[in-house]
């Protein structure tokens, strides 16, 4: 049965892929995302593990290094393309919403 491709990324997925632009392991991803979003997005291990295995099976990320039991992942070309697409989509959303929503900027 063919699997359904991921078309849009959720917030945790987006930040995980950003974190994996450099090779990182589980805890490092969580710490990076916490620092990046100033504690707003917290990737708990249970969710992160499921997400990583899903990404790996879809060839969005790959395992680069196994040190003891610690596994390090990095984003693949396919993943980078997806991230780029998502970035463009998000930017487009901002520009398109700008004329209507810019008045809320100061609040």
């Amino acid at each position: 049965m063919p699997r359904k491709q991921l078309d849009t990324l959720t917030e945790p997925m987006y930040y995980t892929l950003i974190a994996l632009l450099n090779p990182r392991c589980g805890v490092e991803i969580t710490d990076f995302v916490l620092a990046l979003t100033s504690d707003r997005v917290c990737l708990v291990p249970g969710t992160l593990y499921t997400m990583l295995s899903k990404f790996e099976s879809e060839n969005i990320i790959e395992e680069v290094h196994v040190e003891g039991r610690r596994r390090t992942y990095v984003i693949t070309g396919k993943g980078k393309a997806m991230l780029k697409e998502e970035y463009i989509r998000l930017k487009k959303m901002i520009t398109e919403g700008e004329p209507w929503l810019s008045r809320y900027k100061d609040e």
Partner: protein
């Protein structure tokens, strides 16, 4: 090292309560070492200094249903992943995985939100299904051994088997009830005190039912106890495979062994079922089927009725006027020919005469055996031999 065995029935959705309980035990100086048991209920604690250990209970669906204590590669990977976050894996019994850490962790394993609730609900439903069908398998296995042995030892099979079903049904339903309650009553979880009470109730029920089961079988108490020990040994053997041999390195080999084992169980169950259904039919019809009872040997007094084995039944009779004889009815099973040969071989019967389906054999002590299809009559008193032969002649004269 001093050890403590606790029988506790925690369910997958009671993870928070289990965390509390384990922490309380650690505070009292009992550290959890292992979760164990076919019915997922045994906890083994080890004596230690009273200390503060934080426990985290994770529930999931990634485990082997037949061998819940085994570890598959993705489970090992998941545990290693959680280790990075400071969760040390303690033990697992399939759905429930226990992790510990010395300090309170900043991050929970799962976020308590609506998605997680939905996941828990799915897990509980799956567990409910497993708990419905897995005991069924054990009931079949238990029944298989039980009836074989009870038949073998001449117990009153109907009463004992009936009671066996009641016994199993009570325990089974008490196991299923908390799932149904949780799924129906909007995720209402029992308090720790009630869980302990529930466990005690289950234990009391199991013990009292076991005692009364023994009481029912008082005539064969010793023999059936041996049977129970054999069953327990087999259960222990299955857990031994489960714990030690079923590792993921030998996965293919173990899969083949398990396949053969369960293939055999299925085969033996089907065989038992076939034999047993035939047996019941025959018992009901046995009165009508007394095909070769002769006029001069009408049964006056039946002194004993025995279920000799699964394959034959014996009616011992004694007639004051004539003699005593034994009526044997062979079950219509695959082993009919074998049983017949065995009976003939016992007294070294030799064929004397044969005529239109009726065969007469003479045994060692001048016993006479008359066989027709599945039915046999053995005359123990040689004095009446001539009389019987005369009777048979008359019988056949009237037939033709």
């Amino acid at each position: 090292m001093k050890k403590k065995y606790k029988f506790m029935s925690f369910y997958a959705f009671e993870n928070k309560v289990l965390e509390q309980y384990l922490r309380k035990m650690a505070n009292k100086g009992w550290k959890l070492v292992k979760l164990q048991g076919l019915l997922k209920n045994m906890m083994i604690f080890e004596k230690c200094e009273p200390q503060n250990i934080y426990y985290y209970v994770d529930v999931g669906t990634n485990y082997s249903i037949m061998f819940p204590n085994s570890t598959n590669p993705s489970q090992a990977q998941y545990r290693a992943f959680l280790e990075e976050y400071g969760y040390d894996f303690v033990s697992s019994n399939g759905p429930i995985e226990v992790y510990s850490s010395k300090e309170e962790s900043k991050l929970p394993i799962h976020e308590e939100d609506e998605t997680r609730n939905e996941e828990l609900r799915k897990i509980a439903k799956r567990e409910l299904l497993v708990n419905i069908f897995l005991p069924l398998l054990y009931i079949f296995i238990g029944r298989q051994m039980f009836t074989g042995a009870v038949n073998f030892y001449f117990a009153n099979i109907d009463i004992v088997l009936g009671f066996f079903y009641v016994f199993v049904a009570c325990i089974w339903l008490s196991m299923l009830y908390p799932y149904v309650r949780w799924l129906v009553h909007k995720k209402k979880v029992y308090k720790l005190r009630n869980i302990i009470l529930r466990t005690y109730l289950q234990i009391c029920m199991a013990i009292s039912l076991t005692i009364s089961l023994f009481f029912f079988m008082n005539e064969n108490l010793g023999l059936v106890s041996i049977l129970f020990i054999i069953i327990l040994m087999i259960v222990k053997f299955i857990t031994w495979i489960d714990e030690r041999a079923f590792t993921y390195k030998k996965k293919l080999l173990m899969k083949i062994i398990t396949l053969i084992l369960f293939g055999y169980l299925l085969f033996s169950f089907m065989l038992q079922y076939t034999l047993y259904s035939v047996l019941h039919q025959d018992v009901r019809d046995s009165d009508k089927q007394a095909g070769i009872i002769l006029p001069s040997l009408q049964m006056k007094e039946v002194t004993g009725f025995q279920q000799e084995s699964m394959f034959s039944e014996v009616i011992k009779t004694y007639d004051k006027d004539t003699a005593d004889f034994t009526y044997i009815h062979l079950k219509n099973t695959l082993l009919k020919g074998y049983m017949k040969a065995r009976i003939l071989n016992e007294q070294k019967y030799k064929k004397v005469a044969e005529s239109s389906g009726l065969t007469i054999y003479q045994g060692n002590d001048n016993q006479l055996l008359i066989a027709k299809d599945n039915q046999m009559i053995v005359f123990h008193d040689t004095k009446i031999k001539d009389e019987v032969l005369k009777d048979i002649a008359t019988f056949y004269a009237s037939q033709n």
